[in-house]
């Protein structure tokens, strides 16, 4: 690694850490500004004052806000996010996150791979068949895909597929740790529901990028040198169109994760999203903070990954 590249990496890591800290700050203090007393929310409005006081002491709520923040953030760095206010007599939040994160990661990756695979095929076919029937059909379908609410699609899939084809369960989820095949099967319909709007966006971008690259001078040069159409397509056209494609996939991950949150609830998948929604109902502040922060870290890491991938794809960005 050259010194310049090393300095760039260092700078990027610094920005990442800074954004994470700013995110932690915002998440914590916004939550503190929320109306309602978490102690009363957990114990009930008519709880005895000494119980409320004990609850406040136990969850560090009786200290000044700044001290609470310092205690929270130093714990968070070590993976200790405090204890849940509502779940099972105060389960450590870090433990909850650790048990839910793999499920969300699995579903998210599953949907991402489905969306990327389908869009790669659709985008290429639409671009090659430009203006013909297949292009029109696929492009129209893509706009429809963007327009359907993903959670509604989830239910329709359950209604028409799961109830008729016994292969896919309509509710519940097999953990990938227990059985990978079972997880792939039970996660298929939710992943399709999340992936559908994503695939539509991705294939539109890929089609536009391919059409843009196809008429560039260097592609003409490649053709004039006598390379076959397949060679030119793979090495000159697709390779260059992949850069905006990968960039958009990276940008859309925040929408994909939003889809995961809703779909997890629809299909009863015990992931981070359903944890956060449950916590929102229970006003379980430590859990909501930890979930929001975990999602933030996932998006930031994905952005970093996409940056690195684009640097690999685009020699100009390597500098």
């Amino acid at each position: 690694m050259s010194p310049i590249a090393f300095r760039r990496m260092l700078r990027r890591a610094g920005i990442l850490l800074l954004t994470m800290s700013a995110g932690a700050l915002v998440v914590f203090f916004a939550m503190k500004a929320a109306p309602g007393d978490p102690a009363l929310a957990a114990l009930g409005e008519n709880a005895r004052p000494e119980l409320v006081a004990a609850f406040r002491r136990e969850h560090n709520l009786d200290q000044p806000v700044v001290l609470q923040f310092i205690a929270w953030i130093t714990g968070a760095v070590r993976g200790d996010f405090g204890r849940s206010l509502t779940l099972a007599g105060g389960v450590p939040v870090g433990q909850l996150i650790a048990s839910r994160l793999p499920v969300t990661a699995f579903i998210g990756f599953y949907a991402l791979i489905l969306a990327a695979g389908v869009s790669l095929l659709v985008g290429i076919v639409a671009a090659l068949q430009r203006g013909r029937f297949l292009d029109t059909a696929m492009t129209s379908l893509a706009v429809l895909g963007v327009s359907m609410p993903d959670f509604w699609l989830g239910y329709v899939l359950v209604f028409f597929l799961a109830l008729n084809v016994p292969l896919f369960p309509s509710y519940g989820f097999v953990s990938p740790a227990d059985s990978l095949g079972g997880a792939l099967l039970s996660g298929f319909l939710p992943a399709v529901a999340i992936a559908a709007p994503m695939a539509a966006v991705f294939s539109r971008v890929l089609r536009a990028a391919l059409l843009d690259v196809m008429h560039r001078p260097y592609v003409q040069v490649q053709r004039s040198l006598g390379h076959g159409p397949a060679f030119v397509f793979v090495h000159s056209i697709l390779r260059n169109a992949l850069i905006p494609y990968v960039t958009v996939i990276g940008l859309q991950v925040r929408y994909l994760l939003g889809g995961v949150v809703v779909i997890e609830r629809v299909f009863g998948i015990p992931g981070l999203g359903s944890l956060m929604v449950d916590a929102a109902f229970g006003r379980d502040y430590p859990v909501i903070q930890a979930c929001a922060l975990t999602f933030l870290v996932i998006v930031l890491l994905t952005n970093l990954l996409v940056d690195l991938l684009c640097t690999r794809l685009d020699p100009r960005a390597r500098a």
Binding site: S147, W152, F159, L257, F281
Partner: protein, 281 residues
Amino acid sequence: MTGGMLRTLLGNRTLLLGSLVTLVVLLGIVFGPMISPYDAEAMDFIDVLTPPDASHWLGTDSFGRDVLTRVLAGGRISFFASFCGVLLGAAIGTILGMSAAWHGGWREAGLMSACDLLFAFPSFVLALFMMVVLGFGLHNVIIAIGLTYLPIFARLSRNLTRSLMHEPFVQAARLMGQRPARILAVEILPNILSTLLVQASVGVAFGIVMEAGLSFLGLGVQPPTPSLGVILADGREYFQRGPWVLTLTGLVVSVALLGLNLLGDGLRDLTDPRLRKAAGP
């Protein structure tokens, strides 16, 4: 409408279809609940969960309420929430973005970092978080949608303003001693408005999905107010006994959003000549 505009509209099939569907949807949600022989809230325990027929085009729900009337009334509320939210985010975001671009320095850097931070949260997670902080309900859904769109408009208007700041007509206004606020509002804003409007039209479609998603989970608009998310959530409750409520409501919503998205696509082709050429036949 001038002849030129009409010709553009007829020449661009995407724009035409999008505007037509959007127009029908807007007429439907404005006048539909008035024309309909039913009341969105009125219960009728004789006609409970009847499948779609001539008198109830989308059937009735578990309280015997006409689903079509409810969808139109709910569409009105969801569209209103999304429109206000996007307007809120667009107005504040554009003011912030334009003035940041004008002043430069730490103000610009600060705003862009704040936008980067908001962009790093999954959009729905940000909205969900805001609902917890603010409390559930229609007004807070509007604020949550606005906050999700604020960074998008702030960044877009900042970039557009920067690209225009050194144009001769802006320099001329500056030399004439006009105040910055006036230059931004009179010289620059009209030039970037079309791009902002395209973004807003797509934003309204996403805002409706966001409202529906939040209310579907029970974190947004609260029943008995019939928003689209509330109706869809209702439909889920008795999905086995009356699948048409959820299925058809979602289908109507999808078609409405399709119209909005096509309208956005068509407007984008129109405002971006580079895309107009690449958009195909």
